[in-house]
């Protein structure tokens, strides 16, 4: 069964993402949740999730750095990364592109959209 990793330092956003993806959880998808970049990278290496929802602004290791690390490691570079950004500025999007993110979702996001996007990515 597919695995989804949720990474955000804000507890509310973690709950919101979990609830947004609840339907998939009912269908058997495994949700893994963490609150920082470093442990995210560990989990990605260990679990190799299908999709990662990755917040950008986090203390210690930010989303861009995690993304970079993932995309430069051949063992995990296939992991699909959705960057969650609060910045709508094009420059930041370019920065994310450079870091290798697969797509973006800007905050505030619509929970239904998150679900739709994930279904598409997972082909479910």
């Amino acid at each position: 069964m597919p695995k989804i990793l949720i990474v955000d330092d804000d507890p509310c956003i973690r709950i919101l993402l979990k609830q947004s993806l609840e339907e998939l959880e009912d269908e058997g998808v495994e949700l893994i949740i963490t609150d920082n970049g470093e442990s995210a990278l560990d989990i990605i290496k260990r679990e190799i999730p299908d999709v990662v929802f990755l917040d950008v602004m986090m203390p210690k290791m930010n989303g861009f750095d995690v993304c970079n690390a993932v995309k430069n490691d051949p063992a995990i570079s296939n992991v699909f990364i959705v960057l969650l950004t609060v910045m709508s500025q094009k420059v930041d999007k370019l920065r994310g592109k450079a870091a290798g993110a697969d797509i973006y979702i800007t905050k505030p996001f619509n929970p239904d959209e998150v679900l739709d996007v994930t279904r598409k990515i997972l082909g479910m």
């Binding site: 804000d10 509310c12 956003i13 919101l16 609830q19 947004s20 602004m57 609060v86 910045m87 709508s88 500025q89 094009k90 420059v91 905050k107 505030p108 996001f109 619509n110 929970p111 239904d112």
Partner: protein
């Protein structure tokens, strides 16, 4: 000067000679005073500064004529003295002259005439001497003043916190102040005489390059300074005004001023950081508020509401209210999101922080895209859009998404303040009257005409200001925050266009903006 105003002191121990000289000189109209010896004469001169000339004997008791000259000069008086000497004593006359007498007269047959001539000459000579002294003093004062000004200027230039580099017309460096030395970690004296044209390695290279451009428009660049600091340099041409205004100003060289902008950049960066932190801190809770509300709405609709009894009026009303209230929370949350985006957008634009794209675009396509984005809003309100776009419009060079943003803003305003009827969207070439072609550009004009509430004359200039909403905002406050038009203005003006409104209260408004397009040979005849 009238002779009676000229006072002559006659000094002689011989009363006969005194009287004779007095008589002769009074005959020419001079005012005469007399003394019997040098000492008496000296006392008189000290007491009376009005004495213009002394005519003195040489050999006298108490103090002789030669001593008198010396004493007079010792006292710092510069009264001219004529010596009257005996025929036999020419050597005494020479003595007298070398001691400072202005002239001498021999006690001779023709003394009546010679004394008059000599007095006249002595007075004239003294006058000239005085004038010369004055001239020399003036000159000295001027020189001191100029030296003072010059040393002040030099001190100002040396103490200036900004770096200054000046070249002559042959682009060799004639002035470099200590600040420029400090900024670039060089000895400024080593720069003097260097030829900028021949290039320079190191951090100063960009300065040398820019100083050689010699454009009449000041050129500005940013550059790295010594110690990792940041400098901002401006170069300008130095032209000297000519006395004759017909002759064009003379080109005498170039100058560059360098300012250390490290701190300013740091503050700017802090402001940017602050803005993005604020935006992050605001959007994160908004994400929760909006997201959870949407989750709740979905759960209510999918799980809770279907289980409620469908025939109960009170339940129906409650469900309806809950739906409405949730709708309000969501739309207000979205409004707050737009506001945050707009504030950030505008402050970035105002700070020149926006990265603009420059790409050729067709205004027709931009209009279509903006119209498509607002179609559903128009349909919901039952207002129609009428397009009147001239075919064959020239290409414009712009940041396409930004122009789409302008049109969407104007369209949504037009719709917001219009209840029925249709809104016209027109694009044409400028006729030249409202915005004449300039700098090789022609303009296209986009107009959005609505039959809505209109804007009173006094309010029309205010609507482009931040947070300004006009009309009766107390009873009829429009939705939105009053940032739409200021953003439009920034975008249009960045592209070199203008934006304005023509409106009449109750009759509707026309918002227009222009954008420059490059003239091509075939097109220019239409302008």
């Amino acid at each position: 000067m009238n002779n009676t105003e000229i006072k002559i002191l006659v000094v002689d121990d011989d009363p006969f000679v005194r009287d004779m000289l007095t008589m002769i000189l009074e005959g020419s109209g001079y005012t005469i005073v007399t003394a019997e010896n040098g000492l008496e004469a000296l006392k008189m001169c000290i007491a009376d500064s009005d004495i213009d000339l002394i005519v003195s004997d040489v050999n006298m008791p108490v103090m002789d004529g030669i001593q008198l000259i010396k004493e007079i000069r010792n006292y710092g008086l510069d009264v001219p003295i004529i010596m009257v000497t005996g025929v036999s004593s020419i050597s005494v006359a020479v003595d007298a002259l070398s001691s400072g007498a202005i002239d001498y007269v021999l006690k001779d047959e023709g003394i009546e005439e010679t004394i008059i001539i000599t007095v006249k000459r002595a007075l004239a000579k003294h006058q000239i001497e005085l004038q010369n002294k004055q001239l020399i003093a003036d000159l000295a004062a001027k020189t001191t003043e100029q030296e003072y000004t010059l040393s002040n200027l030099t001190a100002i230039i040396s103490n200036m916190p900004n770096g200054l580099l000046v070249t002559n017309a042959q682009s060799s460096i004639t002035l470099a102040n200590p600040a420029i030395g400090r900024m670039f970690g060089v000895n400024e004296a080593d720069l003097l005489g260097k030829d900028c044209q021949s290039g320079f390695a190191g951090k100063l290279a960009p300065l040398f390059e820019m100083i050689c451009v010699q454009s009449d428009e000041p050129v500005a660049i940013q550059m790295e300074l010594d110690g990792g600091r940041l400098g901002s340099a401006v170069a300008a041409v130095i032209r000297k005004k000519q006395k004759n205004s017909e002759i064009p100003d003379e080109f005498i060289g170039n100058l560059v001023i360098v300012r250390d902008v490290t701190l300013e950049k740091e503050i700017e960066r802090m402001k940017d950081d602050f803005l993005s932190t604020v935006s992050h801190e605001l959007r994160t809770p908004l994400t929760s508020v909006l997201g959870f509300t949407k989750v709740i709405r979905k759960k209510l609709e999918e799980v809770i509401f279907p289980q409620l009894p469908s025939d109960d009026a009170k339940t129906d009303r409650t469900v309806q209210q809950i739906n409405e209230n949730i709708g309000i929370i969501i739309s207000e949350g979205e409004r707050l999101t737009t506001l945050i985006n707009d504030v950030l957008d505008l402050s970035k634009m105002e700070a020149g922080k926006v990265e603009w794209k420059q790409e050729p675009a067709l205004i027709q396509e931009i209009m279509e895209q903006a119209i498509a984005a607002t179609t559903s809003l128009f349909e919901n309100k039952g207002v129609t859009i009428v397009k009147d776009i001239v075919v064959d419009l020239p290409c414009i060079s712009c940041d396409r998404d930004r122009i789409v943003q302008v049109v969407i803003n104007l369209l949504s305003n037009a719709l917001k303040f219009t209840d029925k009827g249709s809104i016209a969207v027109m694009v044409r070439r400028s006729t030249g009257n409202d915005c004449p072609a300039e700098n090789g550009h022609g303009f296209i004009v986009v107009s959005i005409v609505d039959p809505g509430i209109g804007i009173a004359g006094k309010d029309q200039e205010n609507v482009f200001e931040k947070f300004k909403q006009v009309g009766d905002t107390l009873t009829d406050r429009p939705k939105g925050s009053g940032l739409g038009l200021p953003i439009c203005k920034q975008i249009v003006e960045y592209h070199g266009g203008k934006i304005w409104v023509e409106s009449e209260l109750g009759k509707g408004s026309t918002f227009c903006f222009t954008l420059p397009h490059i003239l091509t040979a075939g097109m220019s005849k239409y302008e």
